[in-house]
Symmetry: D4
């Protein structure tokens, strides 16, 4: 059995690397996918492909239509979604990805510092597992292969 | 034809009243539902029903399980979801409710100030309509009845 | 038993009236819905609600997001879709509405002049019934109530 | 990850070749499928297999039942649908294929000249991405693999 | 609670009357629907609405497209399907209706004489209840209301 | 808004009455349904309708096919399922009803004494709310109507 | 692309061989599945595995539960179902398999002699393609691979 | 064709080995999955990954969230579920797994001693096959490959 796991959320800290390295260390047959991690490229992708847009909102719309194309395909192929929430930024697309996966009956593991629990409580209640570190998330996955 | 509309998001400003009053003014056959608008009660509902919990997180879990029961029923009965995003708070449950409705094939109207578009861009792209004021949202609804 | 029927397609000829009058004549318990039949209003609705847009395409996007909100709600509440195809215009949204209804497992009746059969042949094959006049469509509906 | 992409629409211009060549140039692991591109064969396939039919409409019905068999299988196996709209022909089956894919939760990319936007506006609003050239469509796909 | 029950199958014996009378006798809040019970009309309905067809098969196709329109609507509104199988005729549409209801997660009650069990065994195994008389079928329904 | 609630589980203690009385006391617009509460009748219903069976297992099969017909209809019409687990009996059908409702995306409230938590832990984790008394279950429901 | 095709219906004539040989002749990448073709074994499989049963009906029930297990798995893995109807036997399970596949959105090709069209007309109308010979069915399949 | 079979239920007797050995003996291409068979590890997995919890119930919740993650993934990948019921323990999670698989349209084979039929009768009625020994279950599976 091989699993595909989408790593949603926060692209400004190296949490994905911790998970990937841990998986390699345990030799787990997992393919990881996730959003474009280069923030600038993610913001520019609309104009890069479609050309200059007439306003900031039109530029955002162009970019988000292509980012969402990517996410829709990768989420649809994922067996599990791990979503990391940090303290900065709005992270509404992380919440969106996690909620979408749950509505598609895909299990979601949330990684968050304990102090973020209150604003996350409704999403945490719908997630299958809530942990505090990337390593804990990976260990929950590893348990599936035992 | 009667419609049921769930009003998701922000409970610290009177946007729901604007929508309700506008609907009454136009005599539209709409039933509005939404989250518990009393913030304290929403936070305490777990302990109110289940008694004192052992930690803040356990208290949050108890509250969110009951808030989510409410939301699950009301969302399942809604024809449309209107979600308001403001500048304060994390509002991850608003993003969750909007994304859940979209995944359930229910149309979502987002209300947000133009300056919030960037962090909302992926969710806005998945919403059916994006507006800036409650009145605009209600007018889009009124158009369905024409 | 009451039925709700969405009348998709062509808004420049009075075919909907023929169907409505026939239904009244037979005293059938049917509620008819359909697109905004005032072409101008359908084209302007985006700017009417959201204000002036920066380009013709942006204006179209604004209008279509609100027209599609309307169609999504009305299609979801319809038991049957009747789609009329004429000789003028592209009518791609009529084909879209018919195909969407079929994919939602709602039966579709197509009304078209015989000479339009060739370009419609794949859609006709997926429709439940194909007729040439509004009166024939209504008679197929009336048979359900016998 | 490998993707299967159905190329719907217009069979009288070489847009599919542009996309296929671009994909080869980028060494993307994509399998392309699409309709029978030989127009005559597509029109004759019913009589070719089932023998002579009694009328032009019966001939069309026979052909479309077999063309739709093909499309149903290929669409069901596709991850993404790219639909090209040109200025000639009714192209109702292109609109049907795009709308069917959307209703099946498969992302659709529409390629159309800017001047076709108005008649396509409702379908464009439901598509995930709208572009003007085959190359832009392929670049949006390539972004998924980055 | 009110139930709608579709009475599929055999139209050449009065089994539906037995069920309807029994339901009236028990004052159960049930609406019964079913196929066109006038065999000739069911066979002629295609030509009656669409005019004379070119062959017997074309006539059958026209009739069946309208009979299936009727069945699709009535099955979609039914809570339960009761299907009667007798000794005469092929009754392939009865088997089709029962199997369709089962695939739609609607419970099916089969009425058949014991000696028909062998050819019905796979369908009987998928039905929720198998009985020998209309009265038994109605008593199983009545139990739901107790 | 009216809700229909299926009360699954244990039929040898009066927990359903507590819930019904509490709902009446609060004037909540709820319709309660549930299994046949007369244990003997539930065991005999197969032979009562279908006549004497050849073995105890055949008798059980006959009864369960009719009990499941009842449950399938009532569960399909329920908005919420409340399932009570006690200390006696196997209660495998209670676990089945709760799991079925969860798989149908209907929220489940489990009532169980704290000491039963260990054997119920996987089902409790999938339920939306877990309480210890019928009154707590009803109060969680009442919160939806506030 | 490889296809899996379930060959439903009639097991007393060699139509499956014709299809298999034609597919081999054309070197098509197709896996064929189907029911147990040894009629006796299909009737005895219940008692063979579960031991002697108390009645003919109990024996049929045991056999059909295992035959249906087989069909459920093979149908769920099939891309297309080809169903052959002949003049003998009730063939209710063939009609059931075809209708089940249609309800699961799998395309069905019916093979029948022209003279059987009348009793098959409703099922034929729901099938994607209707042909008269196994060779025609295979040629419709071959067209998908062109 | 390869099948994946989830072996639900009882982890205190060697029934899984019998099935696995029989499958090896018959050289069937089956992958078997199932719950964590080390009871202690299954109970401790929550605290092992998430650290010490504040109460026995919190510990159970932590463990069950991770056990259910495992089951959700493995069930979603299974073609068939075999569930064994014995005389000891509550086995509510076995009933939950079987009912969940049935609701997901996956066929379930129940293994139970004849004397357990009465408390299992409703679940047995929903299962596709009911047998008394692991060997019988495997023989029903083997029949699919014939």
């Amino acid at each position: 059995m091989e699993l595909t796991i989408y790593l949603a959320g926060e692209i400004h800290n190296p949490w994905r690397n911790e998970i990937r390295e841990e998986a390699v260390g345990l030799a787990l047959p997992i393919t990881f996918t996730g959003p474009m991690e280069d923030h600038d490229r993610s913001d520019q992708i609309g104009e890069e492909i479609l050309g200059s847009q007439l306003s900031k909102i039109a530029k955002d719309e162009a970019a988000s239509s292509i980012n969402n194309l990517r996410t829709q395909i990768l989420l649809s192929k994922a067996d599990i979604v791990i979503a990391y929430f940090g303290e900065q930024y709005k992270q509404w697309n992380s919440a969106m990805d996690a909620a979408t996966a749950i509505a598609m009956s895909k299990p979601v593991i949330i990684i968050r510092d304990e102090k973020l629990h209150h604003p996350l409580k409704e999403l945490a209640n719908k997630a299958q597992v809530v942990v505090e570190t990337p390593e804990q998330a990976l260990r929950a996955i590893a348990y599936i292969f035992e």
